[in-house]
Amino acid sequence: MSTPSGETTYYPEVEQSERLGAWSGKSVPRKEDKRLLKGQGAFVDDLWMHRQGHVHFVRSPHAHARIVSVDVSRCEAVAGVYATLTGEEVGLLQQPFFQMAPEPAGLMKDYCLAVGKARYMGEPVACVLAESAELARDAAALVEVVYEPLAVVVDGIATIEPQAPVLHEEIGSNVAWHGLYDYGDVDWALEHADHVVRIDRLHFHRFSSTPLETTGALVNWDPGTGVVEFRSNNQMPMFAAMFIGPAIGLGVDHMQFSSQDIGGGFGIKITSYTYLTALALLSRKAGRPVKWSESRWEHLVASAHGNERTFLDIEVPVMSDGTILGFKVRAFDDAGAYLRYEPLGAVIWSQVVPGNYRFKHVRVDYTETLTNKCPVGPNRGYSRLQHLWLIERIVDVVAKELNFDRVALRKLNYVQPEEFPYETPNGCIYDSGDYPAMLDQVLELIDYEGARARQLASAGSGKRIGIGIGSTLDSGTNNFGQSRIINSALPFSGNGEAAVVRLDLYGEVTVTIGTSPQGQGHETTAAQVTADILGCSPDQVHVVAGYNKAANTYVGFSGTYASQFAVTGLGAVMGAAERLRGEIVKVGACMLGAEESDIELADGFVRLAANPQAAIPFIGIAATVFANVAELPGELADSVTLNCRYVYRPPFTVPDHETKRGKLTLTYASQVHAAVVEVDDETGQVTILDYAAVDECGRKVNPKIVEGQVHGATAHGIGAALYESFEYDADGQLLNSTFMDYHAATSLDVPHIRTGEIECPSPFTPNGAKGMGEGGGAPLSTIASAIEDALPHGAHIVYDTHNNAERVYELLRSAAAAGPRGVEVVSR
């Protein structure tokens, strides 16, 4: 395939390693598990330092208020209080955080503590350091803050009306970003289609994957060296460094980040850099290490939430045979009060413009807005799941309104297996997949025919049965160049990760990586691929746990986020292991007096392929290079280090700012899910009777770990669809701010999840794997689809991602009311 200008649009073919196989692809038990099962993990709250003080943040009870004064004198007078820090001081000590938005939103002045004004409930306005956590909390109650409450706006669309209060005066409005994404010719399609389906409004609600471990950090500004040590659970440390460094005048060489075990992240722990900045300033002021452990309440009101998005005026051109030509929509994304990873969400969704479908004409008029709510962060499935949910709603609504079978309509419109690699209307390349086969498999898993029979049999029983389908994508390995689509001045492009594989003095194989895992099993999978390449067992490979900027290796993109470890992280490990292999072979050949081509590595030995008895253990190689150097021939001594670093770099180019086209992600894992639900006619209560997930992610390195990620992502989607939703009142008060009332899904809420098997290796990655783990939000589409399938004839369409009993009750009653259904069809 080629672009209009005739250039090839695919990536160069990647040579895939032939060495993988003995260990990769097997469900090797995890190296991490022993310490975690025995309570020997080292999470951030488990760490301490001599002379440390404990931090408590004073937070705004108002969603929008001018800060008239902050008086810390009574607090500071308490014995055992070491120091305080206020917004006023921060205004002098900190430069506003770097903004990725172009002007005017790029003029936003964001600080680690509120300066002059608080813009969401829970925003930190001061912090207190004391000898114990209890004392810090008590003393914080003595900080006197005088507020002058201001008008509040919580609606992501009303906020751009002229009468709405403006959050950031320096911007002049509450628009964070606006742009038109226009691919193909949607006007032509709407004119020539046999039917146009119009949907008034769809709403994707606000929730968070709420890791079980909250945010925390132990920070020490060393007065002697000027180095600031951040031991934290931030999951993207080099991104954090990019914000913290310029804000408080620290070079990257003066910031040390580390984490060992992180109790879940899901993207929510990426934007903790604001807190890390406050802690650094407090540590410098107090001359002590400072420790902060966020409470669950703090986490829910003021860490980060997922993006809320409203879709208006959706128009879908459909041909009489069911071919959907595309759609047009106005999207309003509510970023909350500050842009801390945003407005990247305004482009990230465009990695999946047509979803799993062959839509050619898509126009999205995209506006990102600011409201008096907690700032958003890149929550699992970030920005794509909102768009993919929209698409699946469109497909279901089209099927229902035009009397197409939902299964057949999907199969007709899916990108077909023989069309991969497939170029989307905006120039992204879907690497591989087989969506129709996945749909067949998932329907078999839920016994589709049987479920339809149950549905018929249930008629009139008061329990309505519905069957739902959701097909989504988990695009992985970002091209950070897409940031230039939202701001052409941004200096980022491509992606990458670094690893070092070395042979230690006694022949140990040691691996360090720039990633910061939160339960994804990097120690295990990195050991698997290393073992394959070096001809040893994963037990012989020591993968250093966690992130450590000083001791490990890193690049600017290092961290664990955005479904990419299997490609970038393992790509780096494989490259480094290959380099080490080359060196081991070189030394071995020299010691055995053989040609390099005669050498093989097996069972931790270097040996002659033709005579396995002639073998040297790894310790022999290491000992020669490190401790017996006088015997080493000079040319080897000069060229061999046994300490090999490799940076994996995907073959990206810079996307085009003007046309908003480019290759935005390297791999496209896919999901097709199905559910059978029961809806109680009387109460609106939804019960999942059966749930199945078929996820495809290329070649799997460790199938059990992959299945675990599928389970986890599915549970998050089910939780959000039925139980989890942040509810703000009109004053901007978060109404459910503890785990009492923000109902994180329990073992009774998440059903057994059946999983299927399918493998479509990626032609673009060195191991055929695709990044996965975010899951694309398939359950959100699936549950909405199932509920709609259960509703009586004439009911309003399912218009929200969150469908608690109350909302479903209203949908059930809407049929009898015979009012507007939120949809309209114009046929020619």
């Binding site: 025995k38 675990g708 785990f739 009492m740 009774l748």
Partner: protein, 163 residues
């Protein structure tokens, strides 16, 4: 204000078989006593409202949430934490082994609480059904696994016990 609740009481409590006679402030939660005073960091904190179960320990044979109890209330009690399981610093007991084999954990933050939950469940009901396991787990939130492999691990541990 800062001195309120600072009254100190001496409590006698046995933790993982080791008796402690310790002065604790009246306001100190059992979970902080275990983590901070005794330095046993395997007991975690996920919510402080009794909802998540990360702080679960066994008190006189019963599974409790240590954030819901003051240390002074544990006076005279026998407490078991995750550190009591498995043989020595490297050994895994059969429940822990089953979690490892069936990938019953990801980040591991909920894991100590869930393993102790499984231990008390299997002590009372050696062959629980899936529904019984799920009911028993209701008070222990896991954000990573979707519970599927936790249920599998407990089923496997029950099976191994029966052999």
């Amino acid at each position: 204000m800062a001195t309120e609740g600072a009254a100190v009481h001496v409590i006698d409590v046995t933790v993982n078989g080791v008796p402690h006679s310790t002065a604790v402030p009246a306001r100190r939660l059992l979970e902080h006593f275990i983590r901070e005073t005794l330095g046993l960091r395997g007991t975690h904190i996920g919510c402080d409202t009794g909802n998540c179960g990360a702080c679960s320990v066994i008190c006189d044979g019963q599974l409790i949430k240590s954030c819901m109890m003051l240390a002074v209330q544990a006076d005279g009690c026998e407490i078991e934490t995750i550190e009591s399981l498995g043989d020595g610093p490297d050994g895994l007991d059969p429940i822990q082994q089953a979690f490892k084999e069936h990938h019953g954990l990801q980040c591991g933050y909920c894991t100590p609480g869930i393993v102790l939950n499984a231990k008390t469940l299997l002590a009372e009901n050696p062959h629980p059904s899936e529904a019984e396991i799920r009911r028993a787990l209701k008070g222990n939130i896991c954000r990573c696994t979707g519970y599927v492999n936790i249920v599998r691990s407990i089923e496997a541990a029950a099976g191994a016990q029966g052999e």
